[in-house]
Symmetry: C2
Subunit: 335 residues, 2 copies
């Protein structure tokens, strides 16, 4: 069934398509008689007219589509931020189209290609390792682009970021003052700068504390996180750990690690204290509610969309990076 077009309305109303277009878009300037307006609106209503944005897009070079590329939309962190992005985008008249990269530069690149073909007005991306060139190309074309959560070395892309290094330092200091014998950092074996910032923040703070704290990094790959963490934690903690703290650098890692702790009846915080990056509902089900670093997701989303919108509409803006602060939410998991 062919869908009603502006032409149909024009024919029925006995006016030109131009007139219909003016009326439906409520253009001022053009003065059109109230009678004609009323007639046109009525006809549009009765024939169930839905404007074809595709046609409009072709004309004015704006699709009102925003591309969002995350690592994995089924990850709590990204689905939460996606939700906030969606809300903000809708407010500004945009719709979100989404894709998951799985930390794979090739998939990432295909999504970028796909989204450009779909003529999205701009993209919000969590860039993966190895996507520098692809993104640089996009920048060279002046394609509106904002990174979230992450940034890349060697390419200066507008982005909304967490103060990773700083918050890692502050929260590590917080642990250092508790006089643990051992503090273990659980992170990814990665080249992503924002994660390395967390790691370096942790390492330097421990080193500079002047205290005699045993420390260790457990770094895992992307595959089989759960299994890898469990074996490495087992090795690191031994049978009867005490006076130890675990510093998880993401919610995924924390969930995997906490599952190990609960299964092995490790007492938190009596034996092992826990601090984790990112929020997840799951923390509430653990016997000791988890102390975590909360990222201001809503604010990040707001800033990212606003930032992108300003690029799209060429509001001049010299800003390149927006850095927001994490917050330590202290619960029962640290003694």
């Amino acid at each position: 069934m062919r869908r009603a077009s502006i032409k149909d309305i024009a024919r029925i109303a006995g006016v030109s398509v131009a007139t219909v277009s003016y009326v439906l878009n409520k253009k001022e300037g053009q003065r059109i008689s109230e009678d004609t307006k009323k007639k046109i609106f009525e006809i549009a209503e009765t024939i169930n007219y839905v404007p074809n944005r595709i046609a409009r897009s072709l004309q004015n070079n704006r699709t009102k589509l925003l591309g969002l590329i995350v690592a994995d939309i089924s990850n709590d962190f990204y689905s939460s931020i996606a939700r906030h992005l969606e809300d903000k985008a809708i407010k500004l008249g945009y719709t979100l189209i989404i894709g998951s990269s799985d930390e794979n530069a090739q998939k990432f690149s295909k999504l970028i290609e796909l989204f450009s073909q779909q003529q999205v007005d701009g993209m919000i991306v969590a860039p993966v390792a190895g996507s520098e060139d692809i993104l640089q190309k996009l920048m060279d074309k002046n394609y509106p682009l904002v990174t979230i959560d992450r940034y890349l070395k060697g390419v200066n892309i507008p982005g909304v970021l967490l103060n990773n290094r700083e918050i890692a330092e502050n929260t590590t200091s917080f642990l250092v003052e508790k006089d643990f014998e051992q503090i273990i950092y659980v992170g990814y074996d990665t080249k992503l700068p924002h994660l390395l910032d967390r790691q370096y923040g942790f390492e330097t703070t421990i080193a500079e504390s002047g205290k005699n704290i045993r420390t260790k990094n457990i770094l895992v790959g992307l595959e089989n996180i759960t299994l890898e963490i469990q074996t490495k934690l087992e090795e690191a903690l031994g049978k009867n750990p005490k006076n130890t703290a675990l510093y998880f650098s993401s919610n995924k890692l924390a969930v995997a690690g906490l599952a190990y702790l609960v299964q092995n009846n490790v007492n938190v915080p009596e034996q092992v204290s826990v601090l984790a990056f990112d929020e997840t509902e799951a923390y509430k089900l653990f016997p000791a509610e988890i102390t975590y670093i909360k990222q201001p997701l809503e604010e990040m989303a707001d800033e990212a969309v606003k930032f992108l919108d300003s690029q799209i509409n060429q509001y001049s803006s010299k800003t390149k990076k927006i850095t927001l602060s994490g917050e330590l939410i202290i619960k029962k998991s640290i003694k």
Copy 2:
């Protein structure tokens, strides 16, 4: 910066746009010299040509966009299914555009409107209460449409569903055989048929068991789930519950309920046994890993996209509903 078009390639190559179009789309039938082909591909490469799908869409009435409306993309269940839908959609050449309805018929309706304007080729929706008319209209226009997770009374929309009633009956039987004194159903105060199916399945199975089991429904609204569940559970369980089972009809409800149990040191399964609908990573952090009903999300997503694709391409199909089976994953939370 204007983006390169087919016209640019034609001008540079000294051929017509028609020829360029044929070559780039690898149309058979038209025989074009290898030389010309090669030249065109090279030029496309060097001027960084990206086809404008919008223009193509206008021509052939296909955007390769699929609309997805869920209740809330930040909910584990929906973000997981979204991920599977994304994967399947990409395989078939579609991109997903997403929206969250928040169980609000008006928001839902706005999203439908928005997506139609964007000319999506079809929609996959988790319909909300009160959206019958909107969806019926869409059906009347022959708009390709598939519901997931839910269905509505009084309007016959193609859909992919779980065998809610049946799996509720089977799993309730499983509990009944354990001879609990009390079994409490924790669900939503809702009109959504798929949730009522779960509730009725539970209720009738208990009633028909012939056993003398105390039972009770805790039904909560959508606002303040956590608070409402906690107060109602407190009331229902008392200080020292025993030989009791809780039947949670969704992951959200389960998470809220389990948070209450863990905070109040209720022993699972010694005092209270737990069974829940849906999967979530969170279950792993609870002291007793949770027995849950696993929905075949990947299969659902596969079926939904295939189903929609067949509607879009008019492969005749008389199918109206596809029902898939849930599976009880038995863990430690039931004594």
